[in-house]
């Protein structure tokens, strides 16, 4: 939750800095002074936006999972490993015991 909030704030700061840069550059173009650079506080705002975004993305990451093969195998069971579905027996005595009524739902 906190991570999401930081990502939103970082994105907002970045967008605001971008818009400020655009406004400042059009102001300079109107005045004809194109040699000047973007003011320092806009740069600072962009960097703050970057930092907040990185922090928010790290906090918002999903939980880490185990990577070892052994830990994955510990979660499996013998039935899964030995299921042999290609050879499995799908028939049973139901059709012999229940005759015609076998296989219909209630």
């Amino acid at each position: 939750m906190f991570g999401r909030l930081l990502i939103v704030l970082g994105a907002a700061a970045l967008l605001h800095a971008a818009f400020s840069t655009y406004e400042h550059l059009s102001y300079l173009k109107a005045l004809g002074r194109l040699e000047e650079s973007v003011p320092n506080d806009v740069t600072l705002e962009a960097l703050v936006g970057l930092f907040l975004g990185i922090l928010g993305a790290s906090l918002d990451a999903p939980a880490l999972k185990e990577i070892t093969w052994a830990s994955e195998m510990k979660k499996r069971s013998i039935d899964e490993m030995d299921s042999r579905l290609g050879f499995a027996n799908w028939s049973n005595r139901g059709s012999t015991l229940l005759g015609e009524s076998y296989g219909k739902g209630q």
Binding site: T68, W69, A70, M73, K74, K75, R76, S77, I78, D79, E80, M81, D82, S83, R84, L85, G86, F87, A88, N89, W90, S91, N92, G94, S95, Y102, G103, K104, G105
Partner: protein
């Protein structure tokens, strides 16, 4: 139960080849009724196959026939569907008729693995196990890397108590899937049943070795999963090696310090069962047995 969790569980079952037919059927019915087929898109066909098999297994042939009808409308004349129709026939028709059906299809296409496996399965079921073994060996000569086929051969040999042949087939399985501890566990237990206790002990220790391959990280405090079974196996082997003089048919050396293995296995099993609830009858019985033996 809602649709997304049911779909996720079903796709896990498909990936892991689980045969939990009642659960698959219940969840599959939810998906079918809840209009899930459109959500699945391309995966809906493998889902329908899975649901058809689960429905046949729990005895709901009406749902199975409905799924098969949907699949046949989409894929007429597909060999994979021929196999499913054969399975459906196995339930209601006589084995002779089913074998005739498979025989006819295999004559047209002799190397269709799925149909061949079904034929072997029917032969085994009706008791013609020597024919089943002969056909399965022919299949494995053609398709050596079929681990499922080798495992079925292992099971067939075990069912007629030919444990040496079973061990030989298991060694092929271990060649093909060396990193799977469950196959090594099966090898160990089959060796114990065949009477080769030192080989069984060595294989059980192999299984424990596979349980924690990372030597830098600390071993887990309480064994879980297949390791509990392996510790039981080590305990049994150690007890027998201490009581009797055992010679190994495969000339495996008897390990030194058998007494230490016995104590280690007892301690590991105690940590598993001592942590359980006092009302757990299984845990109290195991702890009593460990104290006694």
């Amino acid at each position: 139960m809602d649709l997304p969790s049911a779909l996720q569980k079903l796709s896990t079952f498909r990936a892991r080849n689980t045969r939990a037919s009642q659960e698959t059927f219940d969840k599959g019915l939810v998906v079918l009724k809840g209009n899930g087929l459109k959500k699945l898109g391309d995966e809906s066909w493998s889902f329908l196959e899975q649901l058809a098999l689960a429905a046949i297994d729990v005895g709901r042939l009406d749902i199975a026939d409905r799924c098969l009808q949907l699949l046949t409308d989409k894929f007429p004349g597909s060999p994979r569907l021929d196999c499913l129709h054969g399975i459906r026939k196995e339930v209601t028709e006589s084995p002779a008729a089913v074998l005739l059906y498979y025989g006819k299809l295999l004559q047209a296409d002799p190397v269709n693995v799925a149909l061949w496996k079904r034929k072997i399965s029917v032969l085994r079921r009706i008791g013609r196990i020597d024919e089943a073994v002969a056909e399965l060996i022919e299949l494995l000569d053609t398709f050596y890397t079929d681990v499922e086929g080798w495992l079925e051969l292992v099971d067939m040999y075990c069912s007629v108590h030919q444990y040496i042949s079973s061990l030989q087939s298991l060694s092929h399985v271990l060649l093909l899937a060396p990193q799977n501890p469950f196959h090594v566990l099966r090898f160990a237990e089959t060796a114990y049943t065949a009477g080769d206790i030192p080989l069984a002990m060595k294989s059980f220790l192999n299984v424990i070795d596979m349980a924690d391959a990372d030597e830098d990280a600390p071993a887990e405090q309480v064994p879980s999963g297949f390791t509990i079974r392996a510790w039981f196996g080590i305990k049994q082997c150690a007890c027998r090696l201490q009581r009797e003089r055992i010679t190994s048919p495969s000339q495996t050396a008897v390990p030194e310090h058998v007494q230490l293995f016995d104590e280690l296995a007892t301690e590991r099993l105690k940590t598993v069962y001592a942590g359980r609830d006092k009302s757990d009858k299984e845990a109290t019985e195991v702890l009593e047995w460990l104290a006694r033996v």
